[in-house]
């Protein structure tokens, strides 16, 4: 990695687990969260540290399959496996877990998870309208009450507003870095983007995270497009969440000669779209903004297409790749409509990849990806 600020970021985030444990030893509470619909701000306003628990590793899947059906999505199995084998330091550090009733696999898994950790389940509506937003605000109010009781704190409007201001700054800082990839050629690889978002999601100290991200944005923005790279096909990756351990498709795309310039999923770019209006009632604003997230569990899911169109334009992409985890029905079915939209409305080549976290299909995926890139040439 050629950038000094990125190296610093990596060195600091290598200590994420330690930093979290230190904060915990100093009395801070930790709230584990699985899904982007769970608001960071309520945990922050409770004085706690929110951390991401989304399962991205293959090695916790085998043990999960002792209880869960094999045909389930690897993300659900991986997340549950960490609870069974007690091998995730972030889950271990969590005093409480906030989860959302999103897809069927996840919500039934959370019922089982309740035996291992206290789980607060938020009932996510699956449509985005005013009634739903009001209901969702009620779920958030319930979470406020629950955390106040668990942690013996009071979560005032002021504290919520402070938290909103803080996450707005964090998301702007992250956006500043991710938007560097709009440049042609992009100074960041898809693996840089993925690793950066992944590492940032475990950082307990938000101020430090913002400062480091700002440094990266500044250094790279000022660096001239140093290496005269030959321009690779620019890919917009959309679909299911990805992290380190579930990064194989990003890596394969890049080893086959493409450049992933934007990752439209809830572990990467979807996060930075959650900009809050700081002048409104914070709970209503949080409910509205979070509910607007374009996950395939929503029906219908109109924002997915609006966002794809904007990202394809802003990042000047040459093609769209839609990633689906095997067993994920909502993304798999939606892929048909996304394909139609990308081909007909955006006039861009489209490829869907259905896979899991294992390495067993690497060769087949390579053929598919290489053939797709040959098609673009």
């Amino acid at each position: 990695m050629p950038f000094k600020s990125l190296e610093t970021f990596n060195t600091v985030t290598d200590r994420n687990v330690l930093a979290l444990q230190e904060a915990k030893a100093a009395g801070r509470k930790v709230v584990g969260q699985y899904c982007i619909y769970s608001p960071l701000e309520i945990a922050l306003a409770a004085g706690a540290i929110p951390v991401s628990l989304c399962g991205t590793k293959n090695d916790s899947i085998a043990i999960a399959e002792s209880m869960l059906p094999r045909s389930l999505c690897p993300l659900v199995k991986s997340s549950f496996g960490f609870a069974l084998q007690d091998s995730c330091p972030y889950l271990a550090a969590s005093d409480i877990v906030v989860a959302d009733a999103t897809c069927d696999g996840k919500k039934k898994m959370y019922e089982l998870l309740n035996d291992y950790k206290p789980v607060v389940l938020l009932q996510l509506p699956q449509i985005q309208n005013e009634d739903a937003a009001l209901y969702w605000r009620g779920q958030f109010a319930g979470l406020v009450a629950r955390l106040e009781k668990e942690f013996s704190v009071s979560i005032s409007r002021e504290k919520l507003l402070d938290a909103v201001r803080l996450t707005n700054r964090l998301r702007r800082a992250l956006k500043g870095v991710l938007d560097l990839a709009r440049r042609k050629p992009s100074p960041l690889s898809g693996m840089d983007i993925l690793s950066l978002c992944f590492r940032a999601s475990f950082m307990p100290d938000y101020e430090q995270c913002i400062a480091l991200l700002d440094d990266i944005a500044r250094e790279i923005a000022n660096a001239a497009s140093a290496e005269a790279q030959t321009e690779c096909p620019r890919i917009l990756l959309t679909g299911v969440p990805t992290g380190m351990g579930s990064h194989k498709v990003v890596q394969l795309l890049e080893t086959c000669g493409a450049r992933v310039v934007c990752i439209d999923n809830c572990t990467c770019y979807k996060k930075v779209l959650l900009q809050m209006d700081e002048t409104r009632d914070p709970l209503s604003e949080l409910a509205d903004r979070y509910l607007a997230t374009h996950c395939s569990v929503m029906s219908p899911n109109p924002h997915r297409y609006e966002v794809l169109e904007a990202l394809a334009r802003d990042f000047q992409v040459d093609a769209v790749v839609d990633l689906t985890w095997q067993g994920c029905q909502t993304y798999d079915v939606e892929s048909w409509s996304v394909k139609k939209f990308v081909r007909e409305k955006l006039s861009l080549p489209f490829l869907q990849i259905v896979t899991d976290y294992s390495e067993t299909d690497t060769e087949q995926l390579k053929v598919r990806i290489e053939a797709f890139l040959e098609m673009l040439a």
Binding site: T360, Q364, M375
Partner: protein, 257 residues
């Protein structure tokens, strides 16, 4: 000047030599891949060069699963692009290419110039591929022509398993219950053809349909596939060579530049 295409698949290694300008075939060879894809590729290329009258190709394009293990390749291309180029060269009206290989099956939508417009491959599992037939051939102890012969006369037994491993158990069970081998063979042929039809249904059918890959050598199977698809199917005289031919065509295109 001669150019070459080498296609090292999981079952066989194939090579084709073409004249770079006229694109006339000068020589070809097919050999079993065995355990060493690199050696198989070398031998197939040597055999094809000998077949062409001991020429030394000036540009070699490699494709197939063994494509990256060939040190002599000047260019590496996927079998998707190669089968498309080969099929359109052989049948210029081609709009859709069906290929059933040893480990996967694919449906490719092609442009008139032989380039790929869209493609689909079967997912992870081996159902509906040549591997499926290998299993059957092992259990019944019949080779492909004999299986085809049997399948053409049998009354298709219902095979419900999608997976090659489970299908093996199912086939053994059917035989144990006294179902005639010909009916089992017919059942397996039908299930492969149906998998192919369902893959093909996800791609718009336009132009003619061309069927390549080793399984296309079985007249019984290609009749069944045409019946399932409801359209006539072109089959080249040596369908297993289509990938190597496509590679040679791409080699010619690059080397002429």
């Amino acid at each position: 000047m001669p150019v070459a295409g080498v296609d090292v698949g999981s079952v066989a290694a194939k090579a084709v030599i073409l004249d770079e300008i006229s694109l006339t075939p000068l020589g070809a060879a097919v050999l079993p891949t065995g355990w060493n894809p690199r050696e198989a590729g070398e031998k197939a290329l040597a055999a094809a060069s000998a077949d062409a009258g001991n020429v030394a190709p000036r540009f070699v394009a490699a494709t197939g699963y063994g494509r990256v293990s060939l040190p002599f390749a000047d260019k590496v291309v996927t079998e998707i692009s190669c089968h498309a180029a080969g099929a359109v060269h052989l049948f210029p009206e081609t709009g859709v290419v069906l290929d059933i290989g040893g480990q996967d099956s694919k449906v490719i939508s092609t442009d008139p110039d032989g380039s790929v417009q869209d493609f689909l491959m079967n997912d992870k599992c081996a159902a509906g591929t040549g591997r499926f037939l290998q299993v059957l051939s092992g259990i019944l102890d019949m080779d492909l022509p004999a299986l085809g012969e049997a399948a053409a006369h049998g009354k298709p037994a219902a095979i419900s398993s999608m997976c090659a491993v489970f299908a093996e158990t199912e086939i053994i069970g059917l035989l144990a219950r006294g179902v005639p081998p010909a009916d089992v063979a017919a059942g397996v042929f039908l299930s492969i053809a149906r998998r192919m039809r369902s893959l093909a249904s996800r791609i718009p059918m336009r132009g003619q349909c061309t069927f390549t890959g080793g399984l296309a050598m079985s007249p019984a199977f290609r009749n069944l596939l045409a019946a399932e698809l409801g359209v006539p199917v072109n089959v080249p005289p040596q369908p297993q060579l289509a990938g190597a031919l496509g590679a040679a065509l791409l080699a010619a295109r690059i080397s002429r530049k």
